[in-house]
Symmetry: D2
Subunit: 251 residues, 4 copies
């Protein structure tokens, strides 16, 4: 190439033989033993340490998504581990690959919906416009309704409560609730804000760009997948699941 190459810059970390600096803080002297895991995740993403209440809210969002039983993602990870026990990381990677549009991706959808709404619009009108938009394209309104928690998703209310306690409940939460109200009316059935909607709304209150909201789910589930793979190592179920399924499918 004859042109002067564009620089390849990353400002997150700087390291020399003596010193590793992360977001401007010294890893050894200022971070290790002083910064908790939730603070560290915040620091990595935001480039600064969180306030105390901010951190409590941020951690609650991730904690809420860590575990939900034998999800498709967990089953995929366990089946992958069965085939490739030499690659613990590959089993986690397989599990994370399924955290897409159907499940955790809805957090992203809710956050995007809220963040793209006009900042100064009146909530009821904005919500109506949002619901109409999704109905017009026959798309599913993100963040509302749940196949099991039909009435109210207990996690959602708790997340909203925590956000309120720490003064991170504002326009985004209000709009999310309003979307649920308008959608319930439009579709003629009760559609509560689900956990994805609550997380997407509160993440928006924390100023988290919707384009990385899926990352919250990824971090959370990587913890859950490690725990499930540990259980799989001690009390394996993947082989039985495979043999049983294959036998049924041919039966």
């Amino acid at each position: 190439m004859t042109d002067v190459p564009k620089p390849l810059r990353s400002t997150i970390c700087h390291s020399t033989a003596d010193r590793i600096s992360v977001q401007g803080m010294d890893l050894t002297d200022e971070i290790l033993g002083k910064v908790g895991l939730g603070q560290m995740a915040f620091l990595e993403i935001y480039g600064r340490l969180p306030g105390k209440g901010e951190c409590r809210v941020f951690e609650a969002l991730i904690v809420a998504l860590v575990e939900h039983g034998l999800t498709p993602s967990v089953l995929a990870a366990r089946l992958t581990y069965l085939g490739a026990p030499e690659s613990f990381q590959g089993a986690v990677a397989a599990g994370l690959s399924g955290l897409g549009n159907t499940f955790v991706g809805s957090v992203e959808g809710a956050a995007r919906m809220l963040q793209e709404a006009a900042a100064n619009a009146e909530p009821a009108a904005a919500a109506r416009k949002i619901v109409e938009g999704f109905r017009a394209t026959k798309a599913i309104v993100p963040g509302i309704g749940h196949p099991i928690h039909k009435d109210v998703d207990p996690r959602s209310e708790r997340i909203f409560e925590i956000a309120r306690e720490e003064s991170f409940s504002g326009t985004h939460v209000r709009l999310m609730r309003q979307v649920a109200v308008e959608a319930s009316e439009a579709y003629g059935r009760h559609l509560p804000v689900n956990v994805s909607g609550a997380i997407g709304a509160v993440a928006s209150e924390l100023g988290l760009d919707w384009r990385i909201c899926r990352g919250i789910g990824v971090v959370a589930r990587s913890i859950g997948l490690v725990a499930h793979l540990f259980e799989e190592i001690r009390n394996p179920i993947a082989r039985e699941l495979w043999l049983r399924t294959d036998a049924q499918a041919q039966g």
Copy 2:
């Protein structure tokens, strides 16, 4: 199948329409807003909440591995995102797939080495036997030496210090240090305990099974990968890296 099928059991999570229970604790009432991210990771893996000092040590181990610049894993994730921006999770999965034997896998190797050593052996003798074993098979002794931090890995000493402060410094840490001493002598050059060795040793002090030590790196790096992908979204480098590399390779 005519046989009674073996049960497919998982005891980590139990959920009904009203209640989600994780490791016996109610997610809504007992976990959200009360349990931090590090505690949650501990709860998932160990099945109980950690003590305060225990948690500080546990979090330090993960925090130490979150970030180390433009690692091969980070580059793989950024290049994957360039090709498939619709799948944030896939880019993280690609990044995690590289956390194997060469890098983060060495934590596992160190922990295994320590956990498989005879519990009641004299440290110097045990370390000598370990080093001899690796030399006999021409394998690399895990947890010692570093291409950049040749003298002392600052993170290692800090991790050992935190473990000591919280009374989690015992036989495993002692053996790890002794292995570094014996290996330095055997190979005729100074080989300090590196960050993988320190983490493997302290993880062993925390009773973490070596078979899931790689999981600590996976959780840590999933956080780092999310931060790097966020940077990639705002200040992309993957396309330039690709074009430049392809041009050079043909040049």
Copy 3:
């Protein structure tokens, strides 16, 4: 569950202790040594063996996508192998994870565009409507234009020629060419049908559902990735690429 469970059926393969049957053919007696790799891929996907010309066209589509140098996908695979040499499959998986919307996914986009167009519409009108639709949403028209092959993509014309020779050139190919014409006019610059567009069009002639067109790229690139990883094993570049990039990013 109290309901009778829905059956879990798969009809692709049936195996007993003595016999493995794939799409109704005996693997040992009827497939091995008699069915080539391209025929086998066709058999798996379509459920029947292809005709001779049909197979030639089908194979050309896949062959066209096998190799294109040090793509982001190839770099991701090589960097992953550097970190996890124990998991050859994980390196391929990482490489495949990037075959998304930006690159190979455009085959899917082109095929979808063509397959969703009204079957009996007049080509010029249909093409105009398609281009207008993409312009209205500011989306990129799939299958046309190329950063390097600005004038004509040599692969595209060759693929169209092969399809014509085997009588698989019909309404889809015609519409794809017409879309390129209309888009060139609408955007005021020459936008030839690129290799993705040609493959998407000819795949549509072969009756391949657009929802699995991405699979053609996946199969093709899995071959290319194996070859690149073999080169990486013998003449590694990933470590140098990493160190150089990290040094530049900090420099």
Copy 4:
């Protein structure tokens, strides 16, 4: 970096605005429409086109591994697709991630065992030494025995037959058979050469480096995974499998 950087070379592909060359052949003029999929895979890996018989043998090895029902790898891919339908490639990647030591990895193990054996050793003695070596470390001898095909694996004999027909049956095949004989005696039960062993042996006859033998399985299964995902799109089973498994695990 002050040193002159090492060159980043790849010799597989060279492309300019007008021409794409793969392993020295022009993609448009010499490959498309003239080179079949099996030939192309051979060309990519070996750097030359195969002879006719060589190609028949090579294709048979891959074809043999394309399909084996609802394997753990297939289930992982289907479950991943359920969660992330936007990423077809991610579902295939998740499926491939499980092609490790337990299943397809045994091809690699068999090929390695044969390729590392002394070239000029007497087969019976070499086989005895190999079996003793595995027994001494309590490792499983690769390439022999099968949970279902206890007597004889019909695919193995067919693969050996094809290799013989094309004159690719030599010292590696002989040694593989001898290993099965010696292992049967040593373990006191009939252990036939399984399909992995046959493929590993014949791949060795083709001069395929054991370090990329896993790649044969990866290419084969990527085809199988595409077919299974196509079936999943039309007749989904992943959701039912998930719900049923989760219900049982809690029951």
